[in-house]
Amino acid sequence: MAGEMMTGNLAAAWGARLAGADYIPAFPITPQTEIVEALAKWCESGAMAARFVTMDSEHSMMTAAGAAAATGARVFTATSSQGLLYAIEVLYSISGWRAPLVLVNVSRALAAPITLEPDHNDVLAARDSGFLQIHAETCQEVVDSVLMAYRIAEDERVMLPVIVNLDGFYLSFTREPVILPTPEQVAQFLPPFRPAHLGFKASAPHALGVAVLGGTPYSYFRHQMHLAAMNALEVHRETAAAFEQLFGRRYDVIEGYRLDDAEDVLVMSNAFASRGKVAVDAARGEGRRVGLLRLRMIRPWPADAIREALRGRRGVAVLDQNLAPGQGGILFQEIAACLYGEAVQPRALCSFIGGLGGKNLSEGEFRTIFDQTAEAAAREQGIGPILLYTEPEHREMTQLQMLATTQGDVKREP
């Protein structure tokens, strides 16, 4: 097998290194820390010609990142979970400045209760920030997506920052073979960063991010961000073609797995999509016509591609690894919204919530999704949101609750 063994975190760091990032403001948070540790080492050794600065918080880190991009440097940074939320105000500023940079988010479920393992409520909280979002399934895709992200972000038709998302633990700490592009190949793929509207210098002063008063200019500039984000669909198509030509690997805004003749389709994103593919294979082995649609680009939302992939299907199950309390699955809503205008709808659109806080998704759970979706399609009525939570998990939980209410040795001597 070609390539070398590396974690998703190291792959992300390699993405920044190969892209020739000039500047890396950083702040540690599990499970992202390995990325900035690798970058710190490379900057220190001279392997990377970038300046690395440890900041005092993610809020400061993102501000420094955006300000450096606004000054004309190519910027990379990374965070996770609470860190992303602490910085979220700044995300809106950076996209408003139209300062393209790449932020890797290593997904980790949000407090409270605090935990370490992944789900996607963190990255989806940044869904409407004006950052584009690419969600990766493999370590290879992480490094490739970082490179693609720079090219898309820095395109004059886009000029928006990008989040590349990978799952904590399941990618961040998981090693698998990764083929690293050579710097020469990358130089062919990624033009130098020379933004016309950014860069502070004595000979051409300008004011950026200034206040506006009144809804007329505000509406105009916000809408420009929307148009820029929508332009990213076309720019992604071109970028994917150029990437494939140079590197032989192809990434589209969505990925279809065994969709051709699939009656029922499972929609997923990120690393657990690999497990979904295994489950599809197993079901196919028993003669069931199921397939998987992986959402790769979440912003801009590739509505046309999704509609086309889901057209004529019998049942569609959306497996959200996130939960919007009081609503349900976030991606389910977006899928439902983009299918609404279709003349022919799936017979059943089903919503499943799974993998919260990194909870495992077993083969049996996938089988249940396929069964329930087929039944729902037969009834022509969607179901959900249904939390994937098994009987043994209930038993484990009950035990934990019992322990949480059991008094310890209270008769200790004073």
């Binding site: 450096a68 105000e89 002063p205």
Partner: protein
């Protein structure tokens, strides 16, 4: 040893050229703008101002800017981090030959007291700790001014703000003491800190001229007498600033590598002369004279200057 001005000895040495032009929507009589305008006469135009949310946000409102230099509006809590990003990016781009050295800029954070004393304290601490080569200009009008004068950690004892009103329980209004941000900064040992006030233009200009020779964090705390929030006639801004200094409430000083020098010895007029001018302290005088509060304020001033005199006597 008395402090000597070296560059600015006479009022007519103040440069005629303006660098912050008129037409902004800041209040008539703004003491903060007066200080910034004077500071900019030394800073010049090769500057990028990194702004935190506050009154100065209103300096550059689309499509108008008063600056011949550049401007980046960041957030209330992280302007020093924005300065870090700009400074680092300029350094990297110059080092890599992508930006000629002649294009280099000074990086100047603009923050009000709400940002400086409260929200951006972590970000400022980080920037000083990292030795960032930048200016920090705090226009201190002792409350959250752009939102209509609410209590900040810079609000002095006895001042009325819209969120620290006077009441039966709190007849003196604000009961907290103003944070000593000068000492908080000084604990970080930056190379240069100074306080300034608009009525003392030569002192102000001299300090910016001295700071220009220093690499690293250069921090300025500018008394920003505020007619809108302190409730006095806009024409009295210099008079209010003068009394703040002459009563000893606003010491003019600098700290070079942590060593403090007072740059002006005030007459130490009674604090009443300063308080009486301003509506935010009116409740200390009517309907009843709050002798205890005024004595408390006077006591704090006296204690401060006793410490100063002791320190200067003992070297």
């Amino acid at each position: 040893m008395t402090w000597q001005r070296e560059t600015f000895k006479k009022i007519k040495q103040i440069p005629r050229e303006e660098h912050v032009l008129p037409g902004t929507s800041l209040c008539a009589g703004c003491g903060g703008l007066e200080s910034l305008r004077l500071a900019a006469k030394v800073l010049g135009d090769d500057v990028v101002y990194v702004n935190a949310a506050g009154c100065f946000t209103m300096l550059a409102v689309y499509p108008f800017t008063p600056f011949k230099g550049s401007w980046l509006y960041t957030t209330m809590g992280s302007a020093p981090a924005g300065a870090q990003g700009v400074r680092d990016a300029l350094d990297v781009l110059i080092a890599k030959g992508r930006l000629p050295k002649s294009e280099n800029l000074k990086v100047v954070v603009l923050g009000g007291d709400g940002s400086t004393y409260d929200m951006a304290l972590s970000s400022t601490s980080g920037a000083i700790y990292r030795g960032l080569d930048f200016y920090y200009f705090c226009y201190d009008n002792e409350a959250y001014g752009n939102t209509g004068m609410q209590l900040s950690a810079a609000t002095p004892y006895g001042a009325r703000t819209s969120t620290s009103p006077c009441s039966l329980q709190h007849p003196f209004a604000t009961m907290q003491e103003k944070k000593d941000i000068f000492e908080i900064w000084r604990a970080h040992k930056p190379p240069y800190i100074a306080t300034v006030a608009p009525r003392y233009p030569l002192d102000l200009e001299e300090k910016f001229a001295r700071a220009a020779k220093v690499t690293g964090p250069k921090l300025f705390l500018a008394l920003s007498a505020c007619p809108t929030g302190w409730l006095y006639d806009p024409g009295e801004t210099p008079e209010v600033a003068k009394l703040a200094v002459e009563t000893g409430l606003w010491p003019l000083k600098e700290a070079i590598n942590g060593v403090v020098t007072h740059t002006y010895v005030p007459k130490l007029s009674p604090v009443e002369t300063y308080l009486k001018l301003q509506g935010r302290f009116r409740h200390l005088f009517e309907p009843t004279l709050q002798k205890e509060a005024i004595a408390h304020i006077q006591g704090s001033v006296n204690a401060y200057w006793e410490r100063v005199n002791l320190a200067e006597r003992t070297g």
